[in-house]
């Protein structure tokens, strides 16, 4: 069986919110709603640390639907609008079946479900991201248009993973902190990471069996250097690909100037 899941390396996550924005763009998430958010584990406000100098601590916790195997939202939904897909283990929502009772929002311990309280608004108005529709047994489970009165949440980028691509938040993470793969395959990268780094799951004690694993932060200079390198490498490869493939001359010029600056700093 395939059980797709995410692994998030908290040592690598720099709290840049790129995955949160990427998700919003790719899935045309309406203004005010977020499927994916990066929480701060530290002080009482975003981007602040706990403790006082020099004994401070901060790391980030990106959170989105955990695609629980024993999902309370699935059990709660009176019309099976939310359900677990047997073929890949993801938890999906039939947009046109949801009656908007929000019982699933009460049931989800991770607070990742959002409701369309009003007719969704987008910026730019015509929307962004994937414009296609994904159906499962005749029911729409992804559409860029989700009307008012229904719940929505992360689909694990169902339109991308069924197409052999990684979820968009995984692909866009500049720190390469997010990994996607089959947790049932012991040789997959995600299974190995979970094993090697003793991955943990959120609120495991509730028995929801989430399929999002977090690699606990080790903290230290070593990992920070790694992180910086990874970041620079990612920027480098992105810029190089723009320089070599883009036909836009001004874009090429900006990219090579930026690349030069990045390389000088590294």
């Amino acid at each position: 069986m395939v059980r797709y899941g995410l692994v998030i390396d908290l040592d690598r996550c720099i709290g840049c919110q790129t995955c949160a924005i990427a998700c919003k763009l790719e899935n045309n998430v309406s203004l005010g709603n977020w499927w994916n958010r990066v929480l701060t584990v530290g002080g009482s406000m975003i981007d602040t640390s706990s403790g006082s100098y020099p004994n401070t601590s901060i790391f980030y916790l990106p959170i989105t639907c955990q695609h629980c195997d024993n999902a309370p939202c699935v059990k709660a939904c009176p019309v099976s609008g939310t359900y677990r897909r047997e073929e890949d283990g993801t938890v999906q929502l039939r947009i046109e079946r949801c009656v908007g009772c929000r019982y699933c929002m009460a049931a989800c311990p991770y607070g990742v479900r959002v409701f369309n309280w009003a007719e969704p608004k987008h910026l730019p108005e015509h929307g962004t991201g994937y414009q296609g529709v994904v159906k499962d047994e005749g029911w729409i489970i992804y559409s860029p248009e989700r009307p008012k009165g229904v719940v929505e949440k992360c689909t694990l980028c169902i339109h991308r993973i069924t197409d052999g691509q990684e979820p968009f938040c995984v692909a866009m993470c500049p720190a390469r902190a997010r990994f996607f793969g089959d947790l049932d395959d012991p040789n997959s990268k995600v299974s190995k990471l979970v094993k090697e780094r003793s991955g943990v799951r959120l609120l495991e004690e509730l028995g929801t069996q989430p399929k999002t694993y977090y690699l606990p932060p080790k903290r230290g200079k070593q990992s920070f250097t790694n992180l910086y390198e990874a970041f620079v490498k990612h920027v480098e490869s992105t810029l190089t690909s723009i320089i070599s493939t883009s036909s836009d001359i001004s874009l090429k010029a900006i990219a090579s100037a930026t690349l030069k600056r990045v390389l000088q700093r590294g």
Binding site: R97, G100, C101, E119, K148
Partner: protein
């Protein structure tokens, strides 16, 4: 049909205005979406679900009283069985109705039948509500059939036999229904409690005690509404209910109030002792936070005071004092419902900045609020008031056109 006082017609007009207002508010809500309510992504249930639980409670309580007349042979309750059953039917119908404004897509309500998920407590509740409502109506019909037949009403559907034999048969059927209705009423409120009690993600709700608390509070709120209605009808008509009946109702109320408090108090002790934030955070909302007034009201004027008032038979038998006690208990139970639903949401299990997207920026602090906030808007309050209005209207109309009040005994008097 007897002539009625101007007060009666004034009351009818008032109720119709109340309901009309609610309808208007609902139309506004349908056009704009639930954004016009105070609910958001953190506190995603509010007044509608609170009232739902409240109405289901009153209904179950009412029927437990009227069916126990037959099941336990409480003779005193027989004369008020019709009133109690009418109230039970009205309240459960309105409870079901109060779910509709809560739905984001009310036009899909038939999906509850088409695609019902057998694991969802909401579906269990829906099923019990339907069975229960049908039982109430059938029960009422058998209680009133002979009476309707004597008046030549068409509502007998042709069963116009009023011979002693037929009436005795009706009574036997009512008795049988009571034996089914009593456990159904208990299940009705138990299953409603499970909607909350099964939710492992909300520590405030996740408790096996919720169902017993719901039952106790259902009994006292149901009894109170029956008492109030009986007193009002007595005040507005010449027919009198026996003192014994009133006395027993008051006594029963006095017995169950402490049971209710005992159960709720148990919850507090267990949670406080654990001192785990997930258990005590909701309690801080109730002991020191914005829900303190509800808590104080529920316990003192809503329970302890009426309990004391009902202790002495002399006070208990004074209609004004009994009515006051019943009103206090009813509003006290409503306070309990408020304390149950919303505080379950305020502190979500994962409580880190910037928190769960509320759909709104919280100015000054982080980009999004970490805690939930909820305050009902006038739309919600208007719809809520209309729901009360519908219960009152159904009862008034039933009083007006059906013989829900008269009993064999009363008529012979």
């Amino acid at each position: 049909m007897a002539k009625h006082s101007p007060l009666f017609y004034g009351w009818l007009i008032f109720l119709l205005l109340l309901i009309g207002g609610g309808l208007g508010a609902w139309i506004i809500q349908l056009q704009n979406g639930l954004i016009v309510t105070g609910m958001r992504n953190v506190v995603s249930w509010g007044i509608y679900i609170t009232l739902f639980a409240f109405f289901v409670g009153i209904s179950a309580g009412g029927l437990i009283v009227s069916s126990s007349a037959h099941v336990f042979g409480v003779e005193e309750f027989k004369p008020i069985a019709k009133v109690a059953t009418t109230l039970a039917a009205a309240c459960v119908a309105v409870a079901a109705l109060s779910i509709i404004p809560d739905l984001g897509r009310p036009e899909r309500i038939a999906y509850l039948i088409l695609y019902g998920n057998p694991l969802s407590p909401l579906i269990w509740d829906f099923t019990v509500i339907v069975v229960y409502l049908v039982l109430c109506i059938v029960d009422l019909w058998f209680m009133m059939r002979a009476e309707l037949a004597r008046k030549g009403s068409r509502l007998t559907f042709g069963f116009n036999d009023v011979s002693p034999k037929a009436v005795a048969k009706d009574e036997r059927i009512v008795k049988v229904i009571s034996f089914i209705a009593l456990p159904t009423a208990v299940m009705l409120h138990t299953v409603t409690a499970w909607i909350f009690g099964t939710q492992i993600s909300r520590s405030w709700w996740y408790s096996a005690l919720i169902a017993p608390i719901f039952l106790a509070s259902a009994m006292i709120s149901g009894l109170s509404l029956v008492i109030l209605t009986v007193l009002i009808m007595q005040w507005r008509s010449r027919i009198r209910v026996e003192v014994k009946t009133i006395n027993t109702l008051g006594k029963l109320l006095a017995v169950i109030i402490p049971i209710d408090l005992f159960l709720i108090g148990n919850e507090f002790v267990i949670r406080l002792w654990s001192a785990a934030p997930s258990e005590t955070l909701p309690l801080t909302l109730i002991f020191t936070g914005p829900f303190l007034p509800f808590f104080v009201y529920e316990w003192i004027p809503g329970a302890i005071l009426p309990f004391i008032l009902l202790l002495h038979p002399r006070l208990r038998m004074n209609p004004k004092i009994l009515g006051l006690a019943a009103l206090l208990v009813l509003t006290g139970v409503l306070s309990y419902r408020v304390e149950l639903v919303v505080p379950g949401y305020i502190y979500p299990p994962i409580l880190l900045p910037p928190g769960i997207a509320k759909g709104e920026y919280s100015v000054g602090l982080s980009s999004f609020g970490v805690y939930g906030v909820y305050f009902p808007t006038w739309i919600e309050l208007t719809i809520g008031a209309a729901l009360f209005g519908i219960i009152a209207l159904i009862t008034t109309i039933a009083y007006w056109i059906f013989p829900i009040w008269r009993t064999e005994k009363n008529i012979n008097q």
